[in-house]
């Protein structure tokens, strides 16, 4: 048994708090991949501004590269609680995609790990408290790239 699997088991035990669930996960083959879930990046997700978030993600100076990242967001979001975001990149060997909203209380919305064999594209939906820049951060071949687009929010996503 590899170290990684062992760590994965320990984590599952911690979060599920029961051997029954563990057995269930085991039988579903979730623990057999040899890859434990990466630890949830608390520092990055509790970052209150863009610089903090980028630091916590280990980004030094991302290159602005609008040509190789397509960030698809609505120009105007009537409902800030559900804003569709698609990030897709033509760069080879995309390893990581992050979505950030610069004026949200917690700027980092999501961080995706893209294994080999998975395309460098992901779609999700984010909350936006007010008009802000949505930033897509892509890590490919060890280098970070960034592109940002403004979304005008007419009704905030935080009950406002």
């Amino acid at each position: 048994m590899s170290m990684e699997i062992d760590l994965g088991r320990r984590k599952m035990l911690k979060v599920s708090g029961g051997a029954g669930l563990l057995a269930l996960f085991g039988s579903l083959g979730l623990l057999q991949s040899g890859a434990a879930l990466a630890e949830w990046n608390k520092n990055a997700f509790s970052a209150k501004n863009m610089d903090e978030a980028l630091n916590a993600l280990g980004v030094i100076v991302p290159e602005n590269n609008a040509a190789s990242i397509q960030l698809t967001v609505p120009e105007i979001a009537e409902n800030g609680s559900v804003v569709p975001v698609t990030v897709s990149s033509s760069l080879p060997n995309v390893e990581q995609i992050s979505i950030l909203v610069d004026k949200n209380p917690n700027v980092l919305a999501a961080n995706f790990t893209i294994p080999a064999g998975t395309e460098g594209m992901v779609t999700t939906r984010v909350k936006m408290g007010q008009t802000a820049n949505v930033v897509a951060l892509v890590k490919a071949d060890g280098k970070f790239y960034r592109v940002a687009k403004e979304v005008k929010v007419t009704a905030g996503g935080c009950g406002g």
Binding site: F25, L28, G29, A110
Partner: protein
């Protein structure tokens, strides 16, 4: 145990498209009830999708992801009838795992 996910997976030209709709409140921890009490943070932190034991996507979520999170992604490979398994964990330690057969 969390509420069931809706998962669709379909293969076309050697690429499998996966769409996931999770059922979760995704409370930010910043919202107040009418009486002014703060609703505690409650949100999915990690999502993992696997195809035949191979991880095809790992996601970490923060509070800014919308209620009932949606994900769409593509991975190479996949054949009709094979299974895609998705599981999530939230900040309270609750989990949910669902699987779906890939459609042609």
């Amino acid at each position: 145990m969390g509420k069931p996910m809706k998962i669709r997976a379909a293969v076309k030209d050697g690429v499998t498209e996966v769409k996931i709709l999770m059922q979760h409140e995704m409370e930010t921890g910043l919202r107040k009830e009418a009486d002014g009490t703060l609703v505690p943070a409650w949100f999915i932190t990690e999502v993992k999708a696997q195809y035949q034991g191979r991880t095809v996507l790992e996601a970490q979520f923060g509070q800014s992801i919308s209620k009932n999170p949606y994900l769409l992604f593509h991975f190479k490979g996949g054949a009709a009838g094979e299974k895609v398994t998705v599981s999530w964990v939230d900040n309270k330690g609750d989990t949910r795992t669902d699987e779906v057969a890939i459609a042609a």
